[in-house]
């Protein structure tokens, strides 16, 4: 049995660190960033019933978050092209670490964990060359930056780790620069791709679209069954073109693009804000806040139905169907019907809902 002194010493050495879990943070099902009625920003943990489980203040408008697989820790990213991210303890609300992009890099707003949660990967831009990068940060070593690998494309946005810690990167194809926020650079030369990258940086597989769809920026990712990757796109051509905006890909096979009815395709305004499979991973949803709608497909890319919600963007899998959030405070469960879970007037939910690992 350890004495008090021995216990404290071993605690400091990390031997018996008190292990907090997501249950200690109120067992949230999803995380979402929002603007509050007073204009401030916060990250919320939300239960499956739609109730608030925790609230942690954010220094500025968030974009997406990454949830640690076991510990109640979330990484909140600034909007792209931002240079900061904060690691939050969702039980105490403390800022555990502030991550600052190294000189010459900026974050793109998404990240993912590998190595059972020991390493955080962040999508980044080397903005002098425009080449996409994945920064790696060690949680054990107080969130020190330990490595950097290529995304094998330009302008990566969402990155996500699949089995064997293979990183899937949505390389959007155009450049950006923190000195020119909101501007898309080199759109006429854009060449997006979906890349599968090993943790040591090797390109394992890559998908490019046909030349006619080169202006379709590949930006968001969700995983289906048996290695299926859904990717959501943003068309940089005319929003009225009505091009496909969802792709489905499995390594070694050709990508499938969605077939939406033309009026729905045009109504999406060439923009997908989020993509997510449901819990069964048999259907996949894409959202367009610009079109005020969500489109649901099966895992073959066949269109099933549309859900109309103004300014809808966040999507996360629910036990049945999807959680949807919008910029008007609505949090909705969409299965066979639409059910409001919570309506926080003037709490504007930001782009993404992130599922919390169970």
């Amino acid at each position: 049995m350890l004495g008090r002194r021995g216990f404290l010493a071993s605690l400091a050495a990390g031997a018996i660190a008190p292990r907090l879990s997501w249950a200690d943070a109120g067992a949230p099902a999803i995380l979402g960033a929002a603007r509050e009625p007073d204009g401030s920003y916060a990250l919320f943990g939300i239960g499956a019933d739609g109730s608030d489980r925790f609230r942690v203040a954010l220094p500025a408008r968030g974009h997406a978050g990454a949830a640690h697989p076991t510990a109640p820790e979330a990484v909140a990213f600034a909007r792209s092209p931002g240079t900061f991210a904060v690691v939050l303890n969702c039980v105490t609300g403390e800022v555990i670490a502030r991550l600052t992009a190294p000189q010459g890099r900026h974050f793109y707003g998404h990240g993912t964990f590998i190595a059972n949660g020991d390493i955080l990967c962040t999508s980044e831009n080397d903005y002098t060359t425009g080449q996409g990068r994945i920064g790696m940060w060690s949680r054990r070593e107080n969130w020190r930056r330990i490595a950097e690998i290529a995304t094998h494309g330009v302008g990566p946005h969402e990155i996500k780790s699949m089995a064997d810690d293979i990183l899937v990167a949505a390389n959007g194809g155009y450049r950006s620069d923190p000195a020119r926020p909101g501007e898309k650079l080199d759109v006429d030369r854009m060449q997006p791709n979906l890349s599968y990258v090993s943790p040591d940086g090797q390109l394992l597989d890559q998908v490019e679209l046909e030349p006619a769809l080169r202006q379709n920026s590949i930006r968001h990712i969700s995983f289906g069954r048996d290695g299926l990757v859904a990717f959501g796109m943003q068309w940089q051509g005319d929003p009225a073109d009505g091009v496909p905006l969802l792709g489905l890909h499995r390594r070694g096979q050709a990508a499938i693009l969605d077939a939406m009815p033309i009026h729905e395709a045009i109504a999406m305004q060439g923009y997908v804000g989020s993509v997510a499979f449901d819990a069964t991973r048999k259907s996949v949803a894409i959202s367009s806040p610009r079109g005020g709608r969500v489109q649901i497909f099966d895992d073959q890319g066949t269109h099933l139905h549309s859900i109309l919600r103004e300014d809808v963007c966040g999507i996360a899998p629910a036990d049945h169907g999807f959680f949807l959030s919008d910029g008007l405070g609505g949090l909705i469960l969409a299965d066979s019907s639409l059910r409001p879970l919570a309506k926080h007037d003037r709490r504007a939910w930001d782009h993404h809902l992130v599922p919390v690992p169970i």
Partner: protein, 326 residues
């Protein structure tokens, strides 16, 4: 008695203006489009020559402009809004579809049950514009084909007009019973107002960015043939009618005086009226182009006034995600 007492406890203000907007603005517009599209179909059944039909086509388009800004609910079902008016059409799908139908003499026009299977680019007002105003179509088609196509198209459009009007009766109920159990469309009593408010802002944005912005293109590359329904001389008329419709919506939606909004509308509407350029071909002339740019700015100024006066008063915002990228 208890029910009445409860009703008095419910928040009423947000409901009151919606009821007014529905009764004085929305429902009359649906009735008008339905009646205009029926008049057009009835006339086509008797005489389908282009010269006879053009005035009725123009009337239907006018009526559509009283309704098209309400691009939610019944207008979204089955893509009705785009079916009635397939525009903008950057890839020229309407011309391609109509020409394809005409040169193949596609017999689908003879089956009213099947006609709705035609691509939406081959239905509605924009396809009809091709049939009435593009002389080439007559050369492509067999002698009576154009006539049969026009009859099928106008009948189809009248049916859509009926469906919109019928659905709006139910949709109006949904809006007035917002936030009640089982109402999947309007989850709180604030949402109907929000939806109308967003329709108002979107319509103003559409006038500035699409109706004017598309033909304006860039200074070096103006694109007058990207203007809405230019073959039938409607680009400027559509903007004037759209402003009139959004003005009516704004005044029914507002709960207080809206002097800045009224002034902004008056300025833009006067500019639109003074402009003697129905097809907006002035986009190619530096001096005329300036006038069009000024109109565009005046329409954007209405939007700002609406946001400040109506949005501010009702506590509404729009576009947290839709105006933000990534």
């Amino acid at each position: 008695m208890r029910l009445i007492a409860l009703l008095f406890l419910m928040p009423l203000p947000a409901m009151a203006d919606v009821a007014k907007a529905l009764d004085h603005h929305v429902l009359p517009a649906t009735a008008q489009f339905s009646s205009a599209s029926h008049a057009l179909a009835d006339l086509a059944a008797r005489d389908c020559t282009a010269e006879t039909l053009k005035p009725a086509y123009q009337d239907s388009f006018d009526a559509w402009l009283g309704l098209s800004h309400l691009a939610f609910g019944p207008l979204e079902t089955d893509g009705r809004a785009l079916t009635v008016e397939f525009w903008p059409d950057p890839r020229g799908l309407v011309a391609r579809t109509v020409r394809g139908m005409a040169s193949d003499a596609d017999p689908i026009v003879d089956d009213p049950q099947e006609f709705p299977e035609v691509s939406i680019a081959g239905r509605g007002l924009m396809a009809l514009e091709q049939l009435l105003y593009e002389p080439e179509i007559g050369d492509l088609a067999r002698a009576d084909y154009t006539c049969r196509y026009i009859r099928a198209l106008t009948t189809d459009m009248a049916a859509i007009g009926d469906a919109i009007a019928e659905d709006w009766q139910q949709h109006a109920q949904l809006m007035q019973q917002a936030g009640q159990p089982g109402n999947n469309r309007y989850l709180s009593d604030k949402e109907p107002t929000q939806v109308l408010y967003t329709a108002l802002l979107s319509s103003l944005e559409f006038d500035a960015d699409q109706r004017l912005g598309r033909p304006m293109g860039s200074f070096d590359k103006p694109r007058p043939k990207m203007a809405e329904a230019w073959r039938s001389d409607r680009p400027m008329r559509n903007i004037a009618l759209s402003l009139a419709a959004t003005h009516e919506l704004a005044t029914t939606l507002a709960e207080t005086e809206i002097p800045a909004t009224e002034a902004a509308f008056a300025t833009a509407m006067a500019s639109a009226k003074a402009m003697d350029d129905p097809r907006l071909i002035g986009v190619e002339d530096p001096q005329e182009r300036l006038k069009i740019e000024i109109l565009q700015q005046q329409i954007r100024a209405i939007r700002s006034a609406v946001e400040a006066e109506i949005g501010g008063d009702l506590g509404l915002t729009a576009g947290f995600n839709s105006k933000d990228g990534d």
